[in-house]
């Protein structure tokens, strides 16, 4: 198979199986190997990407996103304008988060091992909107917060890597943090994930000046302290 998009690396079934297994082990051993988390998500996606695309095709905004294929990176998002927004807006919260954790919109790796250009975009879009899920769910980027967001994403997307990260990450937490996750976070995150709007159908770039609480209400995400 020839390369179907920039950065595409077509691989055989044998390579895919080996890469899926070894990247999963590498990512579980060292969750800070974001390249291995990325490769694992690509090689184990199976039917989850088709499921995600199906849910997007069923929604008008989802269809528009699939058609326009927007990217979230420093050349498409004006961080200067976002800094001027009111504190309660999604855009201002986003740029505050980038500054706080010293990350950029370009932190996400490009998809390489998905053999369909549209499904590759779906996975790339998931990667690039993950930060917005942190904001919507009010979760920090520490391990407990990442695991909480992964539970949410696993239920919404069905991606095997999200399930591995959710379950694997839960076991890696200290006993105290694991109890907090199980007793405080998951009891509201799991039902929220099942009932709220599919996050991939939100055109985040058009909502940056929207009040984040309004967006949560619209999506039916109700934080426990609100």
């Amino acid at each position: 198979m020839a390369a179907l998009y920039p950065n595409h690396i077509p691989i055989t079934k044998l390579s895919r199986i080996l890469l899926a297994g070894s990247s999963a082990v590498a990512a579980l051993r060292n969750p800070y190997r974001d390249d291995m988390v990325a490769v694992c998500s690509e090689t184990t996606a199976c039917n989850a990407l088709e499921h995600m695309r199906g849910r997007m095709l069923d929604d008008e905004t989802g269809r528009r996103i699939l058609n326009e294929q927007p990217r979230v990176n420093s050349s498409t998002v004006d961080l200067k304008l976002l800094r001027a927004l009111p504190e309660s807006t999604l855009g201002r919260q986003y740029v505050n988060m980038l500054n706080k954790y010293n990350i950029t919109p370009d932190s996400r790796r490009d998809v390489k091992f998905v053999d369909d250009p549209e499904l590759a975009f779906v996975l790339q879009r998931y990667r690039e909107t993950h930060d917005f899920n942190h904001l919507l769910l009010g979760q920090r980027t520490n391990l407990r917060g990442e695991v909480a967001v992964k539970w949410f994403e696993a239920i919404q997307t069905f991606l095997p890597m999200c399930w591995m990260a959710a379950v694997g990450g839960t076991t890696r937490l200290s006993r105290k943090r694991r109890l907090r996750l199980l007793q405080q976070d998951l009891p509201w995150i799991i039902p929220t994930a099942k009932s709220c709007q599919f996050f991939m159908n939100i055109y985040f770039e058009e909502r940056l000046d929207q009040d984040i609480d309004d967006l949560r209400d619209e999506m039916k995400i109700y934080l426990p302290h609100s």
Binding site: A3, I9, S15, P70, T76, D78, K112, E118, D209
Partner: protein, 278 residues
Amino acid sequence: MRFVSRLKAFRCFEPITRLNRNVGTQNANPEITHFGFKNVTVKEKPKKVNEVFDRVAGNYDLMNDVMSAGIHRLWKDRLITVLNPCDKTKLLDCAGGTGDISFRFIKRVKLQHDCPEPNVTVCDINPNMLEVGKRRAETQNLHLKWVCCSADDLCFPGASFNAYTIAFGIRNCTHIDKVLKEAYRVLEPGGRFLCLEFSEVENPYLRNLYNTYSFQVIPVMGEVISGDWKSYQYLAESIRKFPSRSQFSQMMRDAGFQNVSCESLTFGVCSIHSGFKL
């Protein structure tokens, strides 16, 4: 208010043109050469090879061990055994990067000939590979000369060495014939040229297994250990583009070498090519 530029609407996943995979196709244009299975200009190739080695330098030795299950060490031991150095040997280890051949040379000469300062110069076109070699030499308290130059344009006077080795380097060179001519130039009469390089596996069943391993397993190792699939895909492809044993032997004769011979190692996975300047 537009927070997102018009650039957002560009399609990022349009199909791109097929990669040129004319395996084995001879290109009549002298300005075009191969980089793995891709065709590139002769000007581009050194830059692309340099980029590969910039990326792999940090994990080069680890990857060699993982990819060959440590067998590369036996191949390199065999190269030094064939060279059979003594205290009078003045070795140029070309494309010697991280120092594997030169360190073995020094240890052999010190051990067998009680020579305190074996004469060896390592040259490589890639400064990052040389840096890795220098750091390794420091930890082992070995003293060598390190020179950054290209194998097809060596910066040494004629007849300044009596032994020349190039291990797993010549297939990355753009002009193999020029490398051979330069090797001939810098050797003294009576000097020996030795090249350790990947070769073709003769047995068809083993060859299939080897191809599967090269193209489908090694790049996976590269991706997991070094986060670099493409450099290790290039490794597998560049092996297939190297001349056959008989073609390379003829190229050595064309450069002036005599008593040209070839020893196959590990079912043909690699070979040691030998020739003399008489």
